[in-house]
Symmetry: C2
Subunit: 539 residues, 2 copies
């Protein structure tokens, strides 16, 4: 039978999970975080259970100075994580005790400071424009000073791997210097991101002979950031740096959740507090909400699509045993298996999806009819993968279980900008509900908002429950991008009644028409699930 | 000085770059390709210079059958690549010569067929529900049959790594069987994507002792697909499979461009035709246009942000030497270094950007003023990173070099749906240009289209050149997602005059107001670059 087991390294006694989403992650194109955003993200990172949260560069970045001050004032408290301030070694020719930026690090009141130091001789001479010896003095001075003032210190060796290639002895001297000055972790940084895993492994193994506690900080420029990080751990690193959702400059930093999930689920290590890994998907998405940079659907472990099965072949096998097509149980990271409803889906996917929603689609002809409808709709631009509520309405329509709550006779939206620049948007809706006709007008800060107000006003006399419905998310996607304003538009609307949330889809050439479709479906779905009858009361 | 060189393996005499964007890539959530899409993508893949293009599964997927038929009819011809048809080993208990799906592979007329075979004993017994011996016979029979009929054959060993762990001897027996039947490459597939690079390396090294030509096919479920692929190559694989932009089921396949760029630029290998790697960025983005799945801005090598520098620290160093912060010269993959205009930018970024656009911002006060304006605008939701034209207008405004072509007094858009469902959208614009006032109405298939028509009509009597302007791309982004229809909306509009294209940005709570802003800026920019004077003719 010859079962073979994978080779798994033993967990070191001390290990640091170090998050730099708020500092290095913030250097991603398009990402901008307010102090309030940072506080929210920091709280989420603490819920994830990371050991260190690098909050920013106080003194260099005014926003970060404010963030650290807010934390010092108690704006948030961490249950598990330790706050870290990022900074640099003292300026050339100045004493650390006299350097205002170093002072700012002390005044941040962060228990830990992570200092970036040059470790590549070229950078010392051409970017800093000083001597190799002075650079070492800067490290010793700053680390010693901050430790004397009561802070713990880590040191990031910038451009370490390129520096090692260019001048191995100097790079190692930097590591030795930092460790001797008292740095609790000396982090080897692949700042340009150009390394491959075997090279990382060899260089880290050499640096490990110095006996200092080593860390690793990788970027994804070769597509190997996570693998490079794990390779460094294999070679002896006891401190890993990364960001949630792999945010970061250029191609981003190593995705910290991928790294930690790999070490916990593949090596069997215990790094996060018990049960914390199950928070990973929720935290990753919650942080994406705050940053307003949607996480990739394909992200390992936490992506919406990461355990989504499309191919009919896979779906049939999964009915036999989910483990036949999944490398781990998605619940371990708080994710879920999803059967995708798509034109590649066979009856198997549709039946499983229908079951998921509480409908019996075992009748083969019924399932085939619905499959055909789904394919036709998706060809027109609809997507049911993200719009379960619209899919349910489609099923109900086919099963003749769709109540008719109202008929909209007509609607219109007028948006105007006056000479003084003032905007005005109004929507008028005419509809009939439970036999009563009504014509109402609503205003809003935009066309969809105005339609939502009008529709709600038109319905609430007949169906009071619509007062609870709130449109909480609105997404627009221009399909066949590149066709200018002739393109098909797909709108997804997420609505909540305070207890649950549901998503509906609308498609059209006209963005407002598409929005109207998603909006009306949202109300119908909400009314169905509120248990409201379309029949007039007393009849 | 101690310069150390990286360890680099020698390029094998035969090596296959095998693309499966059109087959495995198409299994990505949200991706749907028509025959026409496939033809376009195949042509682009051929321009990239891959050796094999796996076009789909003819016989199992009607769309793919049509695609192969179209190619057989000459719908496209490849200069370099060889077309491959994907399929499976014959059905249990049937002869390959009698299996209709096998016949479909023959009838595809693809020079090469890639057959997926089970190599994990559990899958043979539970998913296929047959014996281990029959599975081997299926492989031998199908490979032998297709070769006898004149096609070359590769074999994909599905779930190979998990299968090797569960039953090493059987997994290796499958490899041996495929090779002995004449498969020119036996591809080891990490179908569930759960492997890490060192494990891949060990297992491939063992399989390599059989002497068969091995391939590798990885998925990104641990975030290590590219690294796993390179690890397999290090261990002896001579055939790599992947997809452009990492498309694929769940977390996607190994990104083929990342793999090839790593082997060419880090190992110095020559895999693609001379000069083809420089097409990588163009091809990746062109394929993303066809699939309508925008490539990640952070994609290694080809992403829009991959060589974009934001941190002021990096920008100052880059002015010294770009190689200080880049692992390769972006031009090698057809990409470019970009200086990002953002609130993290210092004067250095703004000055470099201004220079890029042809403006002299060396005056420190001027540069500081502009930097402040950019930060304020970005705080309000504007982004200049993707909207160079709007950034130029901002510069011109500050430098008092912004011509005033027209003043819009007011505008309005009316969108309505009648009782019969018919949509009507009309926009009215009142403006003054070169002293002449005009009021025009335009109609369109949506509000922005209608405004575009009205604006063009209002301007074209005065400025004939606007007839050439065409709105070719329109992107909407809801900022602070999760605030329903109260959220801020950012609109990016790309316009062309047939020769060049430019992008402008508009922001507001009202999507139509934001669109109007981006639209009017697009026209102003276009008029400036057409060299039109705002002064009345003859004055």
């Amino acid at each position: 039978m010859s079962v073979t087991a994978p080779r798994i390294p033993a967990q070191p006694p001390v290990f640091h999970v170090y998050d730099t989403t708020l500092r290095d992650g913030a250097q991603q194109e398009g990402l901008r975080l307010s102090v309030s955003d940072k506080l929210q993200i920091a709280t989420l990172l603490d819920e994830l259970g990371v050991d260190y949260i690098e909050g920013g560069w106080p003194g260099a970045n005014p926003n970060d100075t404010a963030f650290f001050a807010a934390l010092a004032d108690g704006a948030a408290t961490f249950k598990h994580a330790t706050l870290t301030a990022f900074g640099a070694t003292r300026r050339v020719g100045l004493r650390a005790a006299d350097d205002p930026l170093t002072a700012a690090l002390r005044e941040s009141h962060a228990p830990v400071v992570c200092l970036v130091a040059k470790s590549h001789d070229q950078h010392v001479e051409r970017a800093l424009r000083t001597t190799l010896a002075e650079n070492l003095a800067m490290i010793t001075d700053t680390v010693t000073h901050l430790r004397a003032e009561g802070q713990r210190v880590f040191v990031d060796c910038e451009h370490f791997f390129d520096g090692f290639r260019a001048n191995r002895d100097y790079a190692l001297e930097v590591v030795r210097t930092a460790a001797e000055a008292g740095a609790e972790a000396v982090v080897l940084c692949d700042t340009n991101g150009g390394m491959l895993p075997p090279w990382i492994g060899e260089i880290v193994a050499e640096a490990a002979t110095l006996g200092a506690p080593l860390g690793i900080h990788c970027h994804n420029d070769t597509g190997c950031a996570v693998a490079n990080t794990v390779a460094a751990v294999d070679a002896g690193a006891i401190h890993v740096q990364g960001t949630v959702n792999g945010y970061g400059e250029r191609t981003g930093n190593a995705d910290l959740i991928s790294v930690v999930a790999n070490l916990e689920l593949k090596y069997g290590w215990h790094l996060l507090p018990t049960g914390a890994l199950r928070e990973a998907t929720r935290v990753a998405h919650a942080i994406a909400e705050v940053t307003n940079m949607p996480a990739s659907g394909r992200a390992p472990y936490v992506g919406l699509s990461s355990f989504a099965h499309k191919a009919g072949l896979h779906a049939s096998a999964i009915k036999v045993d989910p483990n036949l097509y999944q490398h781990i149980d998605p619940h371990l990271v708080g994710n879920d298996m999803r059967m995708l409803v798509s034109d590649m889906a066979g009856r198997a996917n549709i039946q499983l999806k229908g079951e998921e929603l509480g409908f019996d689609l075992s009748d083969r002809d019924l399932a085939a009819r619905i499959t055909d409808q789904v394919k036709a709709a998706e060809a027109a631009g609809y997507t049911y993968e993200s719009a379960d509520a619209s899919f349910e309405l489609l099923l109900r329509r086919e099963l003749d279980q769709l109540p008719s709550y109202f008929t909209a006779e007509s609607w219109r939206v007028l948006t105007q900008q006056a000479a003084d620049g003032e905007m005005d948007t109004e929507a008028t809706v005419r509809l009939t509900a439970r036999g009563e006709s009504t014509r109402v007008v609503g205003e809003g800060n935009g066309p969809v908002n105005a339609l939502d107000m009008a529709l709600r006003r038109a319905l609430h006399e007949t169906y009071a429950v619509v007062e609870k419905f709130e449109l909480i998310d609105y997404r627009v996607r221009i399909l066949d991008q590149g066709h200018g304003t002739d393109a098909t538009v797909r709108v997804l609307i997420e609505t909540t009644d305070g207890l649950r949330a549901w998503t509906t889809v609308g498609v059209g050439e006209n963005i407002i028409e598409a929005s109207w479709e998603a909006l009306t479906e949202a109300y119908v779905y909400g009314l169905i699930h509120a248990g409201v009858s379309p029949e007039p009361v007393g009849v």
